[in-house]
C-alpha cells in the first residue's frame, strides 16, 4: 500500500504540504499556529465522523459526544488520578470507543433517520450527565488547568504532537478504508439489502465502523485537551455535532480528505469572520447553500471531478 501512496502523482504535493506545516511554527505568529492546531483537531474529528457518515452511510447525528467523552476521560484521568500521564492519553480514545460500542449497539437496530434520532437522544443523555454532575465533571464550569507532560506543554511542542498524531491517524484511517473491512462498509452504504444477500451481517459491520470512528473521535478529544488544557460540556453538545456534520458536507462525503477542507473552512470562518460579527454562521449558512446547489459532491468532490472526469455521472446515476 505504501508503495502505491509513494508512487501516486499526489505524493509530492501532499509531502510538500506536510513539510510546510511542519516548519510553520518557525516563522508564523503564535495565534496562527494555534488556529492551525485547532484545525487539525477539528479535521480529525470531522474525518472520524465521515468514516461512518460518508463511507458507512450511517446517520451519526451526534458524533460530538465521543469527542467530548474522549476529552473528559483524559481530563479526569490527568486531574483526579495519579496514573502516568501518557497512559491517560490512551484512556480517552478507549473510553470513547466503549461508549460508542454501547450507544451503537442500540442504534444499529434501527435504520436511517430512526438511527439518527436514537443516536441524538442517547448522546444528549451523556451530555446531560456531564452537564449536571458537578462533583465529578465540574458541571457547566468544566475542568480547567489540566496538567500536561512537560514534553508537550508549550504551544509549539503541542502543535507538533497534534500534527504527528493527526498524520498517524490519517494513515491508519486510509488503510482501514482501503481494507476489506472498509470496502465492505462502503458496500453496505451503497446497498445494504444486497450486502445481506451476499452473506454480510450488516449490523455487525456497522457497529464495527462506529467503534472505529468513535475511537478516532476520542483521539481528537484528547488532542483538544492537549491544545486547550480544559474541557467543558459544549464539547458534547449537539450544536458541535451539527457543525462537524456540516464540515463533512462542505468538504464532500465521498472523498477521503474532504472533511479536512470542511473543517479548515469552518474553523477559519469562525475565527476570522467571528471576530467582526457574532453572526458568522450566517456566512457559513450561505456557503453551505451554495455548495449544496452547485457542488453537491462537496468542494473536494468537485475538484476530484475536475481531475477524474466520469465520477460525477456515477453520482447522478447512483441516486436513481
Amino acid at each position: 500500500m505504501f508503495k502505491n501512496i509513494i508512487h501516486s502523482k499526489w505524493f509530492g504535493l501532499i509531502a510538500g504540504i506536510f513539510i510546510l506545516l511542519f516548519i510553520c511554527p518557525l516563522f508564523a505568529p503564535r495565534f496562527f499556529v494555534y488556529i492551525l492546531a485547532l484545525i487539525y483537531v477539528t479535521s480529525l474529528l470531522a474525518m472520524s465522523l465521515n468514516m461512518v457518515v460518508g463511507h458507512g452511510g450511517l446517520f451519526q447525528f451526534h458524533h460530538g459526544v465521543f469527542y467530548g467523552v474522549g476529552a473528559y476521560a483524559v481530563a479526569l484521568m490527568l486531574t483526579k488520578s495519579s496514573i502516568p500521564m501518557w497512559f491517560g492519553f490512551i484512556v480517552g480514545p478507549v473510553v470513547a470507543a466503549i461508549i460508542g460500542l454501547i450507544i451503537g449497539w442500540f442504534c444499529v437496530r434501527l435504520t436511517r433517520l430512526y438511527f439518527g434520532m436514537l443516536q441524538i437522544s442517547l448522546g444528549s443523555l451523556i451530555w446531560a450527565i456531564v452537564f449536571r454532575w458537578y462533583s465529578f465533571t465540574g458541571g457547566d464550569d468544566g475542568i480547567h488547568g489540566i496538567p500536561m507532560p512537560s514534553l508537550i506543554s508549550s504551544l509549539n511542542s503541542s502543535y507538533y504532537f497534534i500534527l504527528i498524531i493527526l498524520v498517524i491517524c490519517l494513515i491508519l484511517m486510509y488503510m482501514i478504508l482501503k481494507s476489506p473491512f472498509g470496502n465492505t462498509l462502503q458496500a453496505i452504504r451503497d446497498n445494504s439489502q444486497r450486502c445481506e444477500a451476499i452473506g454480510i451481517n450488516i449490523k455487525r459491520y456497522q457497529l464495527g465502523g462506529i467503534v472505529v470512528a468513535t475511537f478516532f473521535a476520542g483521539v481528537a478529544g484528547v488532542l483538544f485537551v492537549v491544545l486547550e488544557r480544559s474541557v467543558f460540556p459544549d464539547l458534547l453538545f449537539w450544536v458541535l455535532s451539527l457543525e462537524i456534520f456540516i464540515m463533512c458536507l462542505l468538504g464532500g462525503w465521498f472523498t477521503f480528505a474532504g472533511p479536512i477542507l470542511g473543517a479548515a473552512i469552518t474553523v477559519a470562518l469562525r475565527t476570522f469572520v467571528g471576530r467582526y460579527t457574532e453572526y458568522w454562521t450566517l456566512i457559513l449558512g450561505i456557503i453551505l447553500i451554495l455548495v449544496i446547489f452547485f457542488l453537491p459532491e462537496g468542494v473536494m468532490g468537485f475538484f476530484q471531478d475536475l481531475f477524474k472526469p466520469g465520477t460525477k455521472k456515477v453520482a447522478e446515476r447512483g441516486k436513481g
Partner: protein, 244 residues
C-alpha cells in the same frame, strides 16, 4: 436440494404467496413462470430470507431455513440476483464482485491489509467467465443496463453458491442481449455444476433452457413438472399460455 411446501405470505389482506410448492433437485435448472403479480418475486424473497414467511416450510439440504436472516441463508449456499438492478453503484466492477468473494472467504473484517491484494484471482476469474474483464475498473453505476444485469449475476457468483436464484435475469434487455445472457447462464450451470432457479417472462427462453417448470397464479402453484407436462396441462393453457 430445495423443497418449498405450502408456503404462505400475506401483505395486510393481500395473499401474495398462497400455497406455493416447489422442488429443485441438485444440478437441475428450474423455471418459475406466471403472470405479473403471481408472486414469483415474493417467493424468491421468502426463500432467500429477505421476507419472513407466514406459514409453510422451506427446506434446503434437509434443514428448514425459513427463520434464518438473509446473510445466514447466503452462507448455506444460496445466492440470488435481482429483477431490478441491485448493485453497488459507487464501487468499481471489480469491487462489486470482490465484496462478495471476501464475504464468502470470511475475510471481510480484515482491517489493515489493503483489499486490492486479496481474493484477486477468484474475483478476476468470475469477471472473466461473465465477460466483464475489460470493464473491471469502471464504476459500476456507469455501466449500461445490460452490463449491470450481468454484473448482478457476477456478484451472486462471488459467494460460490450451490443454488443460484435469478429473478428475471434478462428484464429490460434487448433480444440479442437476452440471447447472450441465457447462453451464459447455461454455460455457467455446466461449468460450475450450479443448480439454477429462475423466473422469466419470455416463454421461448424458459422452454429452451429449463428442465422443470413451476407455474404460479394468484400466489398458488398450479403445477410443477417437465416441459411436456406443463405444456399439456389444461389449466396452464387456459391461465397462462392462452389456450393455444
Amino acid at each position: 436440494m430445495l423443497q418449498v411446501e405450502s408456503l404462505m405470505k400475506s401483505f395486510d389482506d393481500f395473499m401474495a404467496v398462497n400455497g406455493a410448492n416447489l422442488t429443485v433437485d441438485k444440478g437441475e435448472i428450474v423455471a418459475v413462470i406466471g403472470p405479473n403479480g403471481a408472486g414469483k418475486t415474493t417467493l424468491f424473497n421468502l426463500i432467500t430470507g429477505a421476507l419472513k414467511r407466514d406459514r409453510g416450510r422451506i427446506i434446503f439440504k434437509g434443514e428448514d431455513i425459513g427463520e434464518l436472516p438473509p446473510y445466514e441463508i447466503c452462507k448455506k449456499g444460496i445466492s440470488r440476483s435481482y429483477q431490478i438492478v441491485n448493485i453497488f453503484p459507487r464501487l468499481t466492477v471489480f469491487g462489486n464482485v470482490q465484496v462478495a468473494v471476501l464475504s464468502y472467504q470470511r475475510r471481510s473484517s480484515n482491517l489493515f491489509r489493503p483489499a486490492q491484494g486479496i481474493a484477486v484471482n477468484e474475483t478476476k476469474s468470475i469477471l472473466e467467465s461473465m465477460g466483464l474483464s475489460d470493464k473491471e475498473k469502471s464504476i459500476a453505476g456507469s455501466l449500461s443496463h445490460g452490463d449491470q444485469k450481468i454484473l448482478e449475476i457476477a456478484i451472486a457468483l462471488g459467494n460460490e453458491p450451490e443454488l443460484l436464484i435469478l429473478d428475471e435475469p434478462t428484464a429490460g434487455m434487448s433480444p440479442e442481449e437476452t440471447q447472450a445472457t441465457m447462453e451464459l447462464v447455461k454455460r455457467l450451470a455446466n461449468q460450475r455444476g450450479l443448480t439454477i432457479l429462475f423466473c422469466e417472462h419470455d416463454m421461448d427462453i424458459v422452454f429452451s433452457i429449463a428442465q422443470s417448470i413451476m407455474v404460479m397464479r394468484h400466489g398458488q402453484t398450479i403445477i410443477q413438472g417437465s416441459l411436456e407436462e406443463v405444456r399439456n396441462n389444461k389449466e396452464v393453457q387456459e391461465a397462462y399460455l392462452g389456450g393455444e
